[in-house]
């Protein structure tokens, strides 16, 4: 899910904001009906986000439950500077990141063999690209899009999570750096390595050899 700059900065129309603020106020007052509607409206996409990050349905459900608990506890702090959805998105992502941090990480395989190659003159070694399939053509084919998701999951965790937050969930480099407690330059390096590795893994798909 991508957020537009205007949505994250909170300059949407006043009407939508007052609606979000009204919901927040009712939630703060303990209105059961509003709480149920709130959970039913937002839990599907929150579960989708948690599954993407954690890759495990049970952990994703736990994270969504904990995210709602955080949201109900902190609803009084919602100031309407963003939409409720943006606010909730950050909460569920933070919950998922906590799960990833606490999980015992598998030894991270090196990405070096998937990185671009250069010759002795620092010139790129790259096979010619006579054909490059359009992205929508790739994503329309269920088999190929499943393969793409499988390739993303193959990336080592510290690279996969940066790619996911930046390119899929739509956070800025600065926001990703803050969420992962990394420097912005470190985020950029990881993002570049993740994209370069994925490009290498996806080459047969991008070249149209798999369609």
């Amino acid at each position: 899910m991508k957020f537009s700059q205007s949505e994250t900065q909170g300059d949407r129309g006043g009407e939508a904001f007052s609606s979000d603020m009204e919901i927040a106020i009712l939630l703060g007052q303990g209105c059961d009906k509003t709480a149920e509607n709130f959970v039913r409206q937002h839990s599907p996409w929150m579960l989708a986000v948690a599954r993407r990050i954690l890759g495990n349905d049970a952990s994703a459900q736990d994270s969504v439950q904990e995210a709602f608990a955080d949201a109900f506890t902190n609803i009084g702090r919602f100031e309407g500077r963003s939409t409720l959805k943006t606010w909730l998105h950050r909460i569920v992502v933070n919950r998922c990141l906590m799960v990833l941090r606490s999980a015992k990480r598998k030894a991270e395989e090196q990405l070096d063999e998937l990185m671009p190659q250069f010759d002795g003159h620092n010139c790129r070694i790259e096979e010619p690209w006579p054909q490059l399939l359009p992205a929508d053509e790739i994503c329309e084919q269920k088999q190929l899009s499943t393969m793409v998701r499988g390739m993303i999951d193959k990336l080592p965790e510290s690279f996969r999570i940066v790619l996911l937050l930046r390119d899929i969930e739509g956070y800025s480099t600065k926001e990703v750096a803050s969420q992962l407690e990394l420097s912005e330059s470190n985020v950029k390096v990881r993002l570049h390595r993740a994209r370069a590795a994925l490009k290498h893994l996806l080459e047969p798909v991008l070249r149209g050899h798999m369609s």
Binding site: A35, R40, L47, Q65, A135, D167
Partner: protein, 104 residues
């Protein structure tokens, strides 16, 4: 004596050109600018140098196109997750557990 083909000679020539001509960078240096180029974070001089390299280096030009296509595919895959395949059904017991925990 075996004659070297044009494309056997060209890589080393272009490597020399990238190293010694003013405002030219090597393909390895080009690599370091890609993320900032795509985010629009390069200074006007850096952008000029980056784009000059793209003009003279077919391999980096094609590499960048494939790199950008990879990013597009990743973004569209996620959109497909949320739209064409639909959002997941949330188990009713999860909804109830969330609402019950709120009252504790």
């Amino acid at each position: 004596m075996k004659r070297l083909g044009f494309w056997k000679v060209m890589p080393s020539f272009s490597g020399m050109m990238m190293r010694y001509m003013p405002l030219m960078i090597t393909c390895r240096q080009f690599e370091d600018f890609i993320v900032d180029y795509l985010e629009g974070n390069l200074s006007s001089k850096q952008k000029l140098v980056f784009e000059m390299h793209i003009k003279v280096c077919r391999k980096c030009r094609e590499y960048l196109a494939a790199y950008k296509r990879t990013v597009d595919v990743v973004e569209q895959t996620a959109v497909g997750d949320d739209q064409s395949e639909g959002l997941p059904d949330v188990p009713e017991d999860l909804v109830k557990a969330i609402l019950a925990a709120r009252k504790l």
